[in-house]
């Protein structure tokens, strides 16, 4: 092996898709033991850059060197051999196959004799990887649960099983809850200690500053600059990303709860076996009630339950003023409630349908006239208004929604509810997978909704978000509410984390 200073060196990399230039003259170096952040708005070429490193795309021009050797991977397996492994942003787990097979997919040869897979050996190897990196183990023939977080951990384990020198993480922290994020940070620190490196993409600038050594900012496919994390601030990074100042308050500016006395939703003794135990709360007009907790705390079940989508073993959700029990989603929809689920692409949007189909779906009951007639003109008008109001980047309402970027999809996902006359808005991780710009905009929308007196429930894996926006917050642990905190001086991350764990 030749002498090298840089574990990875990229010189003058170009990549284009059709007429769009995704990477333009990218220079990039990575030292052994370095944790590098890669940040930029949606579409700035971060994922493209990592995908080329991981052997998913080839590059058009430029050179790459790994440990001083020229590097041009033909496939992800090629990249693995060179010591590079990636955890992709899009989910890549085959849910019908056992976890162990998923982890070694494409590398099953070494467990195979005469075409038969030695399952025990495979399982042992898988568990060895999980134990080594302190990830949760699994039982015999365990299958992926299908939960995003669980899938992400399997993918992470798959990447780790390659024993990579360079680990590429494409927006994975946002799919993890706090306890698993902490585990990931530990893994990254161990990489660092071993002289191995990590490149991480995340939209959460605060997180990036907390975990990286240096940050590379991309804008429109070009490297805007490399900065040492210790010498920069979130504002500076944001400025580099967008190319201008993002002014004003990101979260709420006030430090005291501010809502009206009228109770809108009352939940009493909610119980869903294995998910939520005896949870009671009230949400007032104009209040934002936050929920936070670790991955198995049951916070994500709360949103579903309030919207009437869960089978309750006990308890009830009532709309207080109208004295209506929310038995099912149809009742919720009819009585001005809204639910924005966590998994936007699988639970909220019809990906293969047009914008207009998605944008008008919750409003069909309102837009109809006599004989249940849905006037195409009204549907178009609503969609166009939504696109204009939310500044959605699109060619028009007839465009397929999955041609939009994550941020623009989320704008439609949230905006289609805000176009209605709402009493209750349930948000489950509303800023998952969107960049700072859209994030700020979503907070702005929430503030507007608050002023209009909409009662909101904000469930989030991002503590700063809940603390930044909520009037009251309930910390949950193992399905039970353990503490409720009101906005004020004790409204800090520390005080929440203390009870969370």
């Amino acid at each position: 092996m030749s002498e090298y200073n840089n574990l990875l060196e990229i010189r003058g990399l170009y990549k284009s898709f059709g007429s769009t230039k995704a990477n333009i003259n990218v220079d990039f170096t990575l030292k052994p033991g370095e944790i590098r952040g890669l940040i930029g708005e949606n579409g700035s070429g971060k994922s493209t850059l990592l995908s080329q490193l991981a052997g998913i795309y080839g590059h058009d021009a430029g050179e790459m060197f790994v440990k001083g050797e020229p590097y041009r991977p033909e496939s992800p397996l090629d990249a693995n051999r060179a010591g590079i492994a990636m955890v992709m942003q899009e989910l890549g787990v085959i849910e019908k196959l056992p976890i162990a097979i998923n982890m070694f997919l494409g590398r099953l040869d070494k467990f195979t004799t005469a075409g038969v897979i030695n399952r025990k050996m495979l399982r042992d190897s898988a568990n060895a990887v999980l134990t080594k990196w302190e990830l949760p183990g699994f039982g015999k023939n365990a299958m992926p649960s299908g939960a995003i977080e669980h899938n992400k951990i399997i993918e992470l384990a798959r990447a780790l099983s390659v024993e990579p020198d360079i680990l590429l993480l494409d927006e994975i922290t946002q799919s993890l809850s706090l306890n698993n994020r902490t585990k990931l940070y530990k893994i990254m620190n161990r990489f660092k200690a071993m002289g191995k490196s990590v490149i991480v993409i995340t939209h959460d600038i605060e997180e990036m500053i907390a975990i990286t050594d240096s940050i590379t900012v991309l804008r429109d496919g070009e490297v805007v600059g490399d900065v040492l994390t210790a010498e920069t601030t979130a504002e500076k990074v944001r400025y580099m990303m967008v190319g201008r100042e993002i002014s004003g308050d990101y979260y709420r500016a006030d430090r005291a709860p501010d809502y009206r006395d009228e109770v809108v939703v009352t939940a009493e003794h909610l119980t869903i076996p294995g998910e939520v135990e005896d949870l009671s709360f009230e949400v007032h007009r104009g209040e934002i009630l936050g929920f936070c907790g670790l991955s198995d705390s049951g916070i994500h079940s709360v949103g579903k339950a309030v919207y009437g989508l869960s089978k309750l073993k006990g308890g009830s959700v009532r709309l207080t003023a109208k004295d209506i029990t929310v038995k099912n989603g149809a009742v919720a929809l009819k009585h001005h409630m809204a639910y924005v689920p966590k998994d936007r692409d699988n639970e909220a949007l019809m990906l293969h349908a047009r914008i207009i189909d998605n944008a008008t779906l919750p409003s069909l009951g309102i837009l109809r006239s006599a004989l249940d007639f849905l006037s195409p003109r009204k549907l178009k008008k609503l969609s166009n208004e939504m696109i204009a109001k939310l500044t959605v980047k699109t060619t028009g309402y007839a465009q397929n929604i999955d041609a939009l970027s994550g941020g623009n999809k989320q704008k439609i996902n949230l905006g289609r509810w805000l176009a209605k006359d709402l009493d209750v808005l349930i948000l489950d991780c509303p800023t998952r997978g969107v960049d700072v710009g859209v994030k700020a905009y979503i907070y702005q929308l929430m503030k507007e909704a608050k002023e209009q007196g909409i009662a909101m429930i904000l469930i989030s894996d991002e503590l700063t978000e809940v603390i930044g926006m909520a009037d009251n917050l309930i910390v949950m642990k193992d399905g039970r509410p353990v503490r409720s905190i009101t906005r004020g001086d004790s409204f800090t991350e520390q005080s929440v984390i203390e009870v969370m764990i």
């Binding site: 007429s19 708005e41 579409g43 942003q89 004003g248 639970e347 019809m350 779906l361 919750p362 941020g407």
Partner: protein
């Protein structure tokens, strides 16, 4: 590019229709488009269109109703038998519709509440109900359409030569078609069915009563089978043991030929059913016209033609599907849509 591809998906079925029509018109020396043959074509496609626009609701939801053919026979023989017993020919009409509806609702309840896959359930129905049809048909032995209902087969304008095909039943057909078109394209029933086919979880999470919508879709599908039974009896003049055999296959084929995907969703459109129904009727009718129908090859030719058209439709759709799996951060999508990304204009806090 994007627009072109998504258009292609819709255009292929139309091209197929035109090609098939031209081919048989040329091959039959123009007899295909004679006034007589056109009225024959319409008459032959009535049943497929009728059932198809009911089944469309089911297909839109991503399910399938294979019981429509047997349901046609079932509601046909029961209504015939009941109206003979009660000596009231007009009772046949509501009875057929109600029986069809009930069978459909039964399907829907089983699919929605017991979560039995529609394919298996309706396949079981197809086999099981046929037995009952045989039994009833055996009981009523030979049955003929009551002369009281003959007027439905008569042209509205008997004196006008060119309007001979416009019979009273044709007017009924057009009215039914218009209603179904309206319900599918312009009401929540159709929209929600599409949403369920696109993604059932999304539909449920928005607050759509998925179970009720499923029952409604199967109910409509069954009801249209009942209507089709009446038209079938009007066409043939009576019932038989084999009535409705293979109808479910023809209807399903017509829907898919029209460009609706098996997964349903927003690809389900009413015009596609009508288009596909005519394509399949033209193939059958055209083969007869060029006197291939008597030979052993006819059904094979039919099969091959259908396969070719479906193949083209699916290729067009696949191209489209491949395009739409972008990485979230992937500018490729923007190359296709022409929208520069970056949300630069967004932050105005």
């Amino acid at each position: 590019m994007n627009k072109f591809m998504s258009k292609l998906q819709d255009i292929v079925p139309i091209i197929a229709f035109v090609v098939v029509l031209l081919f048989f018109t040329v091959k039959s020396d123009g007899r295909m488009l004679s006034a007589f043959n056109i009225s024959l074509l319409i008459e032959q496609s009535i049943i497929i269109v009728l059932i198809g626009c009911g089944m469309l609701f089911v297909v839109a939801q991503g399910s399938i109703d294979l019981s429509v053919g047997v349901n046609l026979a079932f509601s046909g023989v029961i209504s015939m038998w009941a109206s003979e017993q009660l000596e009231s020919p007009y009772l046949m009409i509501p009875i057929a519709i109600i029986v069809g509806l009930l069978v459909g609702i039964l399907n829907g309840v089983i699919v929605a509440k017991l979560k039995v896959p529609s394919f298996m359930l309706t396949l079981a129905m197809l086999i099981g109900l046929r037995g009952i049809v045989h039994k009833i048909q055996f009981k009523i032995n030979v049955s003929y359409l009551s002369p009281d209902l003959y007027w439905l087969n008569k042209p509205v304008f008997e004196d006008v030569e060119r309007l001979q095909f416009l019979t009273y039943k044709m007017i009924v057909f057009i009215v039914i078609l218009a209603i179904m078109y309206y319900v599918f394209e312009f009401t929540r029933v159709g929209r929600n069915s599409q949403a369920i086919g696109e993604n059932e979880i999304v539909a449920k999470y928005v607050g759509i009563r998925v179970d009720i919508m499923k029952i409604a879709a199967f109910g409509l599908s069954g009801m249209m089978s009942g209507c089709a039974a009446l038209f079938s009896i009007l066409n043939v003049g009576g019932t038989s043991q084999t009535m409705g055999s293979f109808t479910e296959m023809k209807v399903a084929m017509a829907i898919f030929l029209g460009g609706v995907l098996v997964t349903g969703g927003v690809t389900a459109r009413m015009y596609k059913v009508i288009l596909g129904s005519f394509t399949i009727t033209i193939i059958v009718n055209g083969l007869a016209l060029i006197s291939l129908s008597q030979t052993e090859v006819s059904q094979s030719v039919e099969g091959v033609l259908l396969l070719l058209i479906l193949f083209a439709t699916i290729i067009a759709n696949q191209r489209n599907a491949r395009r739409i799996t972008p990485l979230d951060d992937d500018p490729e999508e923007n190359a296709l849509t022409g929208s520069a990304e970056g949300n630069g204009a967004v932050v105005k806090v």
